[in-house]
C-alpha cells in the first residue's frame, strides 16, 4: 500500500516533470490481472501484519492450546510443539517479513540511488571508486557473508535489515548511475546548469523524477529478495530467536525430530512456506507489471 501511495505521489511528480507525461493518474488500471492479484495479496498481508493482534484469537508468543493440535475452528492452522497458535505466529510473522522486506528495500533503494546519483553526476574518480566498490559487493557471495555478519552483529530485526541492505544497494546504484549519466546530457539539464543550478537543485528537480520509476522497480524486486533472505537466515538459526518470523517457524518445524513421519508437517511446515511463497510471488507479479509500465512509458 505504501508503495502505491508512493507511486501515485511520484506519478504526479513525473507529470510535473518533463519527460514522461503519459503516465496516468490511476496506475492500478494499467496492471494486468496477475498484477492486481499481487497487489491484493500484498495489501492483505500488510493488513494482517498491522492488525495481527486483532485478527488472531490467540497470542503469538504464549501457548494457548496443547502441543501440535491439528487445524480446527479454535486453532485455524493448528499449534506448534509448544502449543502456540500457528495462525497467530503467521500473522505476526507477516509483520516481521514486511518490515524486513520493505525496510531493506527502502534503505537499499534510497541509499543505492543516492550513491548512483553521486557517481553518475560527478563522474571521474568518484565514479570509479564507487563503481569498483559495487563490483566488489556484487562479487562477494552474499549469503555466507550475511551469515557471518548476522552472527557477528547479533540477531535482531534491525541488524538483519542493515545487513541485508548492505548487500542490496548495488543494483539500484548501478541502474540509477547509468540513468543519471544519460539525463545529465539532456539539453534542459545543461540549460538549467548554465543558469547556475547546483547539484541539489538538479537532483530534486530533474534527476529524481526521471529515476523514480526505475528505482521503484528495483525496490520491488529487492522486497522479495529481502523477505526470502530473512526467512533463510532465520531458518538457519541466525535470525532473531524471539522474532517469530516465518523462517523461524519453519526452522523449529524442520528441526522437530522425525517431522516427516508424522502428520504435523501438514500444518506446521506448510503454513510458513505457503506464506513466504504467496508474498514473494505477489511481489514478483507487481514487480513485473511495474517494470512493464515503466518501460513502455519512458
Amino acid at each position: 500500500m505504501e508503495y502505491i501511495k508512493y507511486k501515485r505521489g511520484h506519478s504526479s511528480d513525473i507529470q510535473r516533470g518533463t519527460s514522461c507525461k503519459g503516465v496516468s493518474n490511476n496506475i492500478i488500471k494499467k496492471f494486468s490481472i496477475t498484477g492486481k492479484i499481487g497487489i491484493t495479496i500484498v495489501f492483505l498481508f500488510l493488513l494482517i501484519g498491522i492488525f495481527s493482534n486483532c485478527i488472531s484469537l490467540h497470542p503469538y508468543n504464549v501457548p494457548s492450546g496443547s502441543s501440535l493440535e491439528s487445524p480446527s475452528l479454535v486453532h485455524w492452522l493448528g499449534t506448534d510443539d509448544l502449543g502456540i497458535d500457528l495462525w497467530a505466529q503467521i500473522c505476526f510473522g507477516a509483520r516481521v517479513s514486511i518490515m524486513v522486506g520493505f525496510g531493506t528495500a527502502l534503505l537499499a533503494g534510497l541509499g543505492g540511488s543516492l550513491i548512483g546519483i553521486f557517481s553518475g553526476y560527478f563522474g571521474g574518480l568518484t565514479d570509479k571508486v564507487i563503481m569498483r566498490l559495487t563490483d566488489m559487493m556484487i562479487v562477494l557471495p552474499d549469503l555466507p557473508v550475511m551469515i557471518v555478519l548476522g552472527a557477528f552483529f547479533g540477531p535482531s530485526v534491525r541488524n538483519i535489515i542493515i545487513v541485508l541492505a548492505l548487500f542490496s544497494w548495488t543494483a539500484p546504484a548501478r541502474i540509477v548511475r547509468s540513468k543519471v549519466i544519460s539525463v545529465k546530457e539532456e539539453k534542459y539539464v545543461t540549460a538549467a546548469k548554465s543558469y547556475g543550478a547546483n547539484f541539489w537543485h538538479l537532483t530534486i528537480r530533474h534527476f529524481l523524477p526521471n529515476i523514480l520509476p526505475i528505482v521503484m522497480v528495483s525496490i520491488i524486486q529487492l522486497v522479495s529478495r529481502a523477505i526470502v533472505a530473512e526467512a533463510g537466515l532465520a531458518f538457519l538459526g541466525l535470525g532473531d530467536p524471539t522474532s517469530k518470523s516465518w523462517g523461524l517457524v519453519l526452522n523449529h518445524a524442520i528441526n522437530f525430530r522425525g517431522i516427516y513421519f508424522t502428520d504435523y508437517w501438514k500444518w506446521w511446515v506448510v503454513s510458513p512456506i505457503a506464506a513466504i511463497t504467496l508474498l514473494v510471488t505477489a511481489m514478483a507479479f507487481i514487480g513485473r507489471d511495474v517494470e512493464k509500465i515503466v518501460n513502455s512509458k519512458i
Binding site: 510443539d81 538459526g237 530467536p241 525430530r257 522425525g258 513421519f261 508424522t262
Partner: protein
Amino acid sequence: MFWRIKNIIIAIVLAGLMLTEIAGCSNSERTVNKDNESSKPVVISLEGGDWGYPTPFSHYSRGPGVFKMTLIFDSLLERGEKGYIPWLAEKWDISKDGLEYTFTLKENVKWHDGEPMTAEDVKFSFEYFAKHPPVSNDLTVDGKSFIKSVEVVDAKTVHIKVEKPLAIILGKIGNARIIPKHIWEKVDDPRKFNTPEAVIGTGPFVLKDYRKEQGAYKYEAFKDFWGPKPKVDILQFIPVSDSVLAFDKGEIDITGITPDILSKYEGNREYKVMKNPAFWGYRLIFNMEKRAELKDKEIRKAFAYAIDKNELVEKVARKAAVPGSAGYLPVDHIWYNKGVKNYQFNIDKAKALLKGRKMSFNLLIGNSNAEIRIAELLKISLAKAGIEINVKSVDMKTRDAAVKKGNYEIVLTGHGGWGNDADLLRTMYAKEKTSNQSPSADGIPGYSNEQINELCKLQLIEMDPAKRKDIIFKLQELIAEEIPQIPLYNTTGYIVYRPYKYDGWKYMFDHHEVTHNKLSYLDVK
C-alpha cells in the same frame, strides 16, 4: 481439457503404483540376501559428527567423543550391563584397609601394532596421566591424584597404593585408559599428538579413517583382539542431515526417535525399539559469582516453583522424559531418593518468595532445537512470576566452554552421566577445581554449603555401601532443600534399529546410550 487432466492423473497413479511395487520387491529381496550371506562383513553405520581425534587427550569431552576413544583404548575394568566386569584385568584384590589394589592382567593382550601389553604399560599410563591429565580424568579427587604409587610385580601383576581408602576407587582406577608405553613415552605434549600412532590401543577396533571436516570416522575390527570376538567388522560414522530420514533410507543403522513416530516402528517385526534409561538430562546452573542475589535461597526456590517441569517434559521432550529430581539423582539411579522435596509448579508460591522483587537474568543456551524451546517456555513461565529472562543462544561448544569458565549468569546445559556413581553429587555440589573437562563435572560457581560439603566428604570415605546409601539419601534431601541448581528433566528417549541387520545393542549399567557401549559391538553374552 478435462479428459486430458484425467489422463495425466491416471498416468501418475500408475507410475506411483509401479514404483511402490518395485520398492516392495527390492525390500523382500534385501531381507533374503541378508539371511543367506552371513559371510559378508558386517558394516554398521552410525550418525557422524566431529568429536575430535579419538585419543585420550584430544577427543571432545562429551559422550560421543569419549566412546569413540574407548573403542580403541581399553581399561582395567569395563562397564557391563549389571556393573563393572573384568576387562584388561582378569581379577583384583583389595587389601582390608582399602589402601592397596592388586590387579592381575589378562594374558596375550596385544597392542594394535603387534607389541604385547604388559604391567609396565599400566604403570606408565597411570604415571603419565598424573603428569598430563587426559580429557576424562578418573584418577583425581578434588583435583588431586589419589594414587600414591604403582608398582610392577611381574609382567602381568600391578600393585597400586592409594592415599586414602575411598568408596569409589575401584571404579575410578578401572575406568582409566591404558596407553602404550613404547609410543607415549616419547610424547611431551599429548594434546598435539595426533599421528596414526596416537590411536594405537588394545581395544577391539582400529581407527582407519578420520575426516574432521565431515565428521566421518571409520573403524575396523582388530584381528588380534584379546577378548570377545567383534561382531561388527566395520564401524563407520557418516554425516547425515536428518537422522530419522537417514535411518528410514537405511543409511544409518540406529537412531533416536520421539514418541510421535513410535507407532511407525512399534509392533513392526522389521524394527526393534528400546527405551533409554533416564541418564541424560538438562539442568539450569546458577552462577552466584556473577549474580550474588542468587545466593539467596528464596530466589532459587522461586525459580524452582516457577518452572513447570511437566510442561517441558510434555512439550519439548514429547513425553519421552521424566521431570528432574531436585536432589539431582534421577529416577532411574540406583540411589534415587524419592522422598526429596518436590517443587510443584506454583506461580503464586514463586511470587510470594520473591516478595514483589522484579529481576532480570541472562540465560545462556546452546543452539539445539530442544534448548531453544526449553528457553522459550522458561521465559514465559518465569515472566509470570516476575523474573525476566534474556535468552542468548550460542553453539554447543561455545556454551560448554562458557560453562567451564563460569562465563554466564544462568546457563542451560544438557549432558549424560547422571547414572554414574553417586559421588557425582560431590563433584557437582562440593568440588574444588578439577582437571576433568567433562561437562557433567562442573560445579556451581560461588556456591558452598558446609553441611553439603561435610556429607560429600563422608560418603567418599564410607566403605559400607548401605551406610553410604544413607548418606547419599540425606545429601539429596539437603540438596533439594538448597536447590543450588535446577535439574529440569531426564530424557528417556527411544531408539530403533533393524534386528535382522544387527541385534547386538546393549546398555551399560549406568549409561543411557547403547551405541556408546563397547560391548554392543562384541560377542558377549
